[in-house]
């Protein structure tokens, strides 16, 4: 009798626990990496909220014409940037003013966008959603559309316990998905973990990198997260003053955020306006194309002397930053199972 009672109690407890159970996820910091900047306490990861974020990321319902999704400008196979376009385009083929940045290792970002206009990952999505050239929508109308849909009330209940669809839930779910986009399994990473070794050419390239590039493109994130002026000539068709637009400080004129170099093999074209189609062009810029603007970063005041062969080696090293586990990870991909229903 006592045994049966114990079994019954355990069964009841399990049944009760299965209601509203969400699976928490631990954010794994790769060994030796700095602490993430994102405050996970305010938005603890759960499998259901990440999944909701992933579905929203790939859903064109966020745009006013229901054709453009986040994925339209942030394709996984290129490191979540807009491949083949110098300036990204949005709804009705409207062209924007910049190249969409990669979405890699965002938990370590202190600011977002090329000029740091967005100060927190949770409010990042508001920018493309509301931008006339991108999704041309309002978050308020997104909420209306999600409420009307067949699947979102269910998905929000699964993720949050009730079907209340609010802007903060939409934004925080998107954040959760984006936070999972960690790239730390390139050949470079396995070499650092002493699991493999560079070729001679790659090793040469690595040493050249450390001498000439690492002060801004600091390991292991391959960015120092700062705003720098890397001597790009001003494109007078755009007149993009970069960070100055946000701070209105003249010292910030023509400064842009240092992007990560991870997966650089596939995230072309390069720079905030996508002006360089190949890594070779980037090398040539640094060796002979730097314009000595007043706000040119100190690290670039002395010229970078590098031979043609050395450029090849440097590029060989940069190719070791390609992380196929990241670029083809199905957990980051289009949720076919949801959208095909």
């Amino acid at each position: 009798m006592k045994k049966r009672l114990v079994v019954l109690i355990i069964l009841l407890a399990l049944i009760i626990m299965s209601f509203g159970i969400t699976r928490t996820k631990v954010f794994r910091v790769p060994e030796g990496w700095p602490d993430p900047v994102y405050n996970f306490e305010k938005n603890p990861l759960t499998a259901e909220q990440i999944e909701l974020g992933r579905i929203l990321f790939y859903d064109p319902i966020l745009s006013s014409d229901s054709i453009v999704s986040c994925n339209s400008c942030h394709l996984q196979y290129s490191g979540f940037t807009h491949v083949d376009h110098s300036l990204s385009h949005g709804i009705k083929d409207r062209i924007g003013t910049r190249n969409s940045p990669v979405l890699i290792n965002l938990a370590w970002n202190r600011s977002f966008m090329w000029d740091g206009a967005v100060n927190h990952l949770d409010v990042q999505a508001l920018a493309p959603i509301s931008n006339h050239n991108e999704m041309d929508e309002t978050i308020g109308n997104v909420i209306v559309k999600l409420n009307r849909s067949k699947i979102y009330p269910y998905l929000f209940t699964r993720a949050y316990g009730d079907d209340s669809i609010t802007s903060s839930r939409i934004l925080k779910s998107l954040s959760q998905f984006m936070l999972t986009l960690i790239s730390c399994n390139s050949k470079y990473d396995s070499v650092m973990r002493k699991e493999s070794s560079f070729t001679i050419q790659e090793e040469n390239g690595y040493q050249l990198f450390r001498r000439n590039c690492a002060s801004c493109h600091k390991e292991p994130l391959f960015t120092n997260g700062e705003f720098e002026n890397n001597g790009l000539s001003v494109d007078t068709t755009l007149n993009d003053a970069g960070r100055y637009k946000v701070t209105l400080r003249s010292n910030d004129s023509l400064l842009f955020k240092v992007p990560t170099l991870r997966n650089i093999e596939f995230s072309y074209p390069y720079m905030h306006d996508g002006r360089f189609k190949s890594l070779r062009e980037v090398m040539d810029h640094y060796s002979s194309g730097i314009v000595k603007h007043k706000t040119l970063s100190k690290q670039l005041h002395s010229p970078i002397t590098i031979t043609s062969n050395e450029k090849v080696d440097l590029i060989a090293f940069l190719l070791t930053l390609t992380d196929r586990y990241f670029l083809f990870n199905k957990e980051f991909s289009y949720p076919r199972e949801i959208f095909s229903k």
């Binding site: 206009a117 927190h120 949770d122 509301s130 931008n131 903060s168 209105l248």
Partner: protein
């Protein structure tokens, strides 16, 4: 039994259900004020306000320079299109104080805290999506002084980064601490804007800071 009932009733009346409340009252000089109505701005020109929304935050009760109460999660979006929003109630009733303190706008820390809810929800039209930050004060309307399309003016005052920090702190003396009435004089504010020259502010900067100061100066409790 009868005595008991009387005592119980007496107990409930002294245990006042009325709590401290703050009512924000827009005025135009000595006149009352409503939106969508033209008021004279000088001898020849007039102005009407169609939209007026602003944040009141960090409400405090102060007695002799000491803060005796600080409202928690103190963020209120005052919207003249929503009359109930003009009153802040649910404030404790058992505190003795002489002054009330509050911010017009949202503080810097809150501006970097990501996606928030309630009155701070970014879907309420008081958040800049293209450059993170709250619009502290939003005033839109028409005046013949504005040589703009449809004579419209649009003042979106925000900015949380120095030197463009536009949130303003105000402290006012209050006598009737039960039902506090805080007036904000739109005549004094609008005449200080200079609508003939300044009719579009859509981002942080010097102009936004100056007008935020002027707007805050228009608040008073009509008490010494």
């Amino acid at each position: 039994m009868r005595n008991f009932i009387i005592i119980v009733c007496f107990f409930f009346t002294t245990c006042s259900f009325s709590q401290h409340s703050i009512e924000f009252i827009p005025v135009y000089g000595f006149q009352s004020f409503t939106t969508d109505k033209y008021y004279p701005i000088n001898q020849t020109d007039s102005v009407k306000i169609e939209t007026l929304k602003f944040y009141i935050s960090s409400v405090e009760f102060i007695k002799r320079d000491v803060v005796v109460f600080r409202e928690e999660k103190s963020f209120h979006l005052i919207d003249l299109a929503k009359p109930q929003s003009l009153q802040i109630s649910d404030l404790p009733n058992d505190i003795d104080f002489t002054h009330i303190g509050f911010n017009v706008g949202v503080d810097s820390v809150t501006n970097v805290s990501g996606a928030l809810d309630g009155d701070l929800d970014p879907s309420l039209g008081m958040y800049w999506t293209w450059q993170s930050g709250y619009i502290n004060v939003k005033i839109e309307g028409k005046s013949n002084l504005c040589r703009t399309r449809l004579n419209e003016f649009s003042l979106h005052l925000g900015g949380y980064r120095t030197p463009n920090l536009s949130v303003q702190n105000i402290e006012l003396a209050v006598k009737n601490t039960q039902n506090m009435k805080i007036y904000f004089d739109l005549h004094s504010f609008l005449t200080s804007v200079g609508l003939q020259d300044q009719n579009q502010i859509m981002s942080p900067g010097i102009a936004a800071v100056r007008l935020s100061e002027k707007f805050a100066q228009s608040f008073n409790s009509r008490e010494k």
